[in-house]
């Protein structure tokens, strides 16, 4: 009995104009979206590969530890073709700069090359489902009960000995199958497209995730269908049920999430201001402490400041001092011995502050998400993003890993003496005798320099590039024991765990609406109002 009803509902749906129009639009859009996003993914993957290779290469060209610049590239997730998330808007790598005192709290190297492109948005599969398929679901469900009542078919059906719950179940399952078929078609189309485009290697994780994404989409759409059928069984006319559903849809999908997100964005900006104020306080404190410390010593600040600003441009923006006399050297060593520990302490304080800020931000974002999880469409978007590893959480997770690595890296640098002395000297024609002797010492004896107080040096000649040519004489760098960075991989179980609550909410909504509809339909008056 139910099978009959399902079959009829299904056939009736696929022959209707609204279904055909929606499905056509869905197919066209999913093809366009997949093709463009695949191309984009390939570009980003290529950039990633290039970046990793060039970062490795750059490491080999760096002469000393204090110039070490680490770039940690983030591999783009193949699922971002289908759920774009924020991956395209954040950068592609985290940079730990040289003489690193700053822990990266955001990614750099903007992926979107054109900053003005931010005014356009991307239509990915997740939006395809939240927009087009949801509207299709509303179209299929809004007149499932009230429409049949208006045409008298419901009376005709109920004049037979088929129990009401079977009729209801048949309608629901029929609509579900009607929407599952085009959905599956779009998914398969997308997957095939990605499969057949070269240079995208896929693993089982990808297919599994696609399957899960499909199931979650179906779960979400089922929720919408049941809501639609419920509303259809409560209103007098099909028209009012359609209006009600569309009104709900507009308000719940666009208005409310926007308002909530704006509020949370404002809260986050408030938070940033706090952090900045605290940062300012800490910075001022540090400056004062430094000045205090210098006052007690024979340190001469003016011997450090360059006389001519032209140093800045020609030397590529790095301000270094020439140590053309022993007094200057002593001054320099004094400066280093005072400043370095204060700097380290300061770095830790800044890190703690920023970490606290990131945590609070994350808490605000999680709160927002939890609230928004009550709305089916935003809930679904979030589940999709979490599965595809392109949401804000994945960014946060990556940055946390980078922070852990940063600590390791700091320890490593400290051991290697990267926080030692740096100075610059001009070309051979202009060196003072003292400098000549100093340099000779550096080039002859790379590890023992002035009784171990100064540990590294850097050559600065006509152009910075030339310095690299002198590498064989000056390199102290040995990167074999550089700690490796392990990129966080999103396993299947982790993905599901984070999502568990959201999926439970979705299932709950399904059950709730079904139960409500069951009761509503059992008292429903099928007579046509003339």
């Amino acid at each position: 009995m139910i099978k009959t009803i399902i079959k009829r509902e299904f056939l009736d749906n696929i022959l209707s104009f609204k279904f055909i129009a929606c499905v056509l639009v869905a197919i066209v859009v999913s093809l366009a979206s997949t093709s463009i996003l695949t191309q984009d993914y390939k570009d980003r993957l290529r950039n990633y590969d290039k970046g990793v290779v060039s970062a490795k290469e750059e490491l080999t060209r760096i002469p000393v530890y204090s110039c070490l610049k680490i770039k940690l590239y983030r591999k783009p997730s193949p699922l971002s073709i289908f759920v774009a998330g924020i991956e395209r808007k954040v950068g592609s790598y985290a940079e730990i700069p040289n003489a690193p005192m700053d822990i990266p709290t955001s990614l750099q190297g903007g992926v979107t090359k054109n900053e003005f492109a931010a005014i356009f948005s991307i239509f990915d599969f997740s939006s395809l489902i939240v927009i087009i398929f949801t509207i299709l679901a509303i179209f299929l469900a809004y007149d499932s009960i009230s429409g049949e009542k208006e045409s008298g078919l419901l009376s005709l059906a109920l004049s037979n000995s088929v129990p009401r719950y079977k009729v209801l179940l048949g309608k629901y399952l029929g609509a579900l199958v009607s929407i599952a078929v085009p959905l599956a078609f779009c998914f398969i189309l997308g997957t095939l497209f990605v499969l057949f485009s070269k240079s995208v290697e896929l693993d089982t994780h990808f297919f599994l995730s696609m399957g899960l994404l499909f199931s979650v989409s179906l779960l979400y759409l089922s929720c919408i269908l049941l809501l639609g059928i419920f509303v259809s069984s409560r209103t007098k006319t099909s028209f009012s049920s359609l209006l009600l559903l569309l009104g709900f849809y507009l308000v719940l999908t666009f208005l409310i999430p926007q308002a909530v997100k704006s509020y949370s964005a404002n809260a986050i900006i408030e938070q940033t201001k706090n952090v900045e104020n605290n940062l300012e306080t800490v910075t001022n404190e540090e400056d004062k402490r430094e000045d205090e410390a210098y006052r007690k010593t024979p340190f001469k600040k003016q011997w450090r400041i360059p006389n001519d600003f032209t140093n800045m441009r020609l030397y590529g923006g790095i301000i270094l001092n020439r140590i053309s006399s022993p007094e200057l050297l002593e001054n320099e060593i004094l400066w280093r011995s005072i400043r370095t520990p204060i700097e380290k302490e300061y770095t830790q304080k800044v890190y703690d502050l920023k970490n606290k800020d990131l945590n609070i931000e994350e808490r605000i974002r999680n709160g927002t998400h939890r609230l928004l999880a009550l709305i089916p469409s935003t809930n679904f978007s979030r589940i999709a993003e979490l599965m595809a590893d392109t949401g804000e959480d994945s960014l946060g997770r990556y940055l946390r890993h980078v922070a852990l690595y940063w600590h390791e890296y700091m320890r490593y640098l400290d051991e290697k003496g990267a926080f030692g002395l740096r100075f610059t000297y001009p070309g051979p024609e202009e060196q003072t005798p003292y400098e000549k002797a100093l340099i000779k010492k550096i080039t002859d004896d790379s590890t023992e320099l002035l009784k171990g107080k100064a540990r590294s040096a850097m050559y600065q000649g006509k152009y910075y590039d030339e310095a690299l040519n002198y590498r064989p004489k000056l390199t102290f760098l040995n990167l074999e024991d550089l700690p490796a960075f392990k990129s966080p991989e999103l396993g299947m179980t982790e993905g599901l765990q984070g999502n568990l609550l959201n999926i439970v909410i979705m299932v709950f909504y399904n059950l709730l609406f079904f139960v409500l509809t069951y009761f509503s339909f059992s008292i429903y008056d099928p007579r046509r109002i003339d």
């Binding site: 104009f17 003005f116 356009f120 087009i132 009104g247 006509k462």
Partner: protein, 480 residues
């Protein structure tokens, strides 16, 4: 005859629960958005005034000692947050916020939304913290209310224009009298226009009041002129949707079909189409290099210029003994050209990015929703057009600033160029109050209307075309 039809239609449209519900929805949306906007606007203004205060501090230091504080004489020119943002936010927060101007090397650097500017202190930032916008963010502004909510409402009013009458049987009755067909359509159209116009007007007045009360935005004449222009543009946009609704009604025989057709068209034109065409930007022809690559290209251009021009210098010239050439005219010319080449490259790519976006926008002209979005942002002077205005104003300011300093303090007699070399400026202090200051001015309403005119023109064309089509189709409509 028309008056009779019109009066009846008006009564019907306004006394329905549809109108009341829509009005409530629109007014509550306005209220919610005002609250959200207020919060945000306050913060933006704070950030902006902090940045401007920093500019002033830098200028004061510069005034005290034009040579000594060269390094910190930079100013940041940002998009000034305007109350018109409530009318149309136009993604202003997502595009680059402005420029960093360093006069001593003529450099104008683009500031992206999450730029951290390290000035004298390392961690001072003047950015808006990055909160990457979700895919379908619509900014909470009046444009959204009109573009999405009111257009939907207009369709609801109009979709049953003809089919509902037919189903009630009254269409035949009306035509048994000597009524012109066009009058019938006109009555429906005018009544629907009036109804949405009233809702919009009430919404706008409410928003003006709320803005004044909540965020202390004064009733300035520029704001009122912006609101009036916005009202005009919205009415033209909504009229398109009323006509679309009537058209769908004329093309169907049952209200059900008409409604489905209307909704499908609405979803496509308002949501799907404007949001998918952005992807065209990823096409090869709109490719621009990354930020770092642009910097490298600019550097390369500078080096090439330097190499080209230093050939004219004496043979013993080298970068290390340039001190000897400080007063050499050729050398100074070369330095100027060096910086100019750098800046020209940056400008070239910035121009390219903007025109890529504008070209992509042209594809969206098919959708009245996009046309409305662009015209509303032009009329409010926000978004991309705000940025372009800023850029133009900055360029003018650059000239004013440099010629001021040159006139006041330059000791160089030779040459028509100006270069802030320590020997070319006298170290006497400047008068801080006389230094030209930069201000981001709102363009006049005449100019804003002119900017918006291509989009408005297209919308009007849309209207005329639809109206003609509706009247034509209705002539042969079966009224039984």
């Amino acid at each position: 005859m028309l008056k009779i039809l019109l009066r009846r239609q008006l009564v019907e449209d306004i006394l329905t629960s549809r109108f009341f519900i829509s009005l409530v929805l629109i007014l509550s949306a306005v209220c919610v958005f005002s609250l959200v906007f207020t919060d945000h606007f306050q913060q933006s203004q704070d950030t902006y005034s902090k940045a401007m205060a920093q500019n002033d501090r830098n200028l004061q230091q510069f005034a005290k000692s034009p040579v000594g504080s060269l390094g910190s004489s930079m100013q940041s020119f940002l998009l000034k947050p305007k109350p018109e943002l409530f009318i149309s936010e136009a993604y202003e927060e997502n595009i680059p916020q402005g420029f960093l101007y360093e006069p001593y090397n003529y450099s104008l650097q683009l500031l992206s939304p999450k730029e951290e500017v390290s000035g004298a202190q390392h961690y001072r930032s003047i950015s808006k913290k990055e909160n990457p916008a979700d895919v379908f963010t619509y900014s909470p502004d009046l444009t959204f209310i009109v573009q999405v909510l009111l257009s939907f409402f207009a369709l609801i009013l109009a979709f049953g224009a003809v089919t509902a009458e037919k189903e009630k049987g009254t269409l035949g009755l009306i035509y048994s009298n000597p009524t012109k067909r066009a009058y019938f359509i006109l009555a429906k159209y005018l009544s629907a226009l009036f109804t949405v116009g009233i809702s919009l007007l009430i919404g706008l007045i409410l928003s003006l009041i709320l803005l004044n009360v909540l965020s202390a935005v004064p009733f300035s004449s520029s704001l009122i002129s912006s609101l009036s222009l916005f009202f005009l543009v919205s009415m033209i946009y909504l009229s398109v949707f009323i006509l679309l609704g009537i058209l769908c009604s004329v093309l169907s025989h049952r209200s059900k079909n008409s409604l489905v057709l209307c909704l499908l068209i609405w979803v496509f034109l308002v949501i799907v189409f404007p949001k998918t065409t952005g992807m065209l930007l990823t096409l090869k022809r709109f490719d621009v290099p990354t930020g770092e690559e642009i910097q490298q290209l600019a550097q390369k251009a500078s080096f090439e210029t330097e190499d080209r021009l230093t050939k004219q210098l004496p043979a013993d010239w080298s970068r290390t003994n340039f001190e000897k050439y400080r007063h050499n005219e050729l050398f100074l010319k070369m330095l100027f050209a060096y910086d100019k080449a750098h800046q020209d490259t940056l400008d070239y790519y910035l121009r390219k990015k903007i025109s890529a976006v504008e070209t992509t926008r042209r594809v969206n002209f098919l959708s009245p929703a996009s046309l409305f979005e662009y015209s509303s942002s032009s009329v409010s002077g926000t978004g991309l057009i705000h940025f372009e205005n800023l850029w133009t104003q900055i360029r003018r300011y650059e000239n004013d600033f440099l010629s001021y300093v040159k006139n006041e303090r330059s000791v160089l007699e030779k040459g028509s160029f100006f270069y802030l070399f320590s020997d070319t400026i006298s170290d006497k202090p400047l008068d801080f109050n006389a230094i030209p200051k930069f201000e981001d001015k709102n363009p006049k309403s005449g100019k804003r209307l002119k900017d918006a005119s291509p989009y408005i023109g297209l919308l009007v064309l849309y209207n005329l075309f639809l109206f003609a089509f509706v009247v034509y189709k209705f002539q042969t409509y079966d009224v039984r």
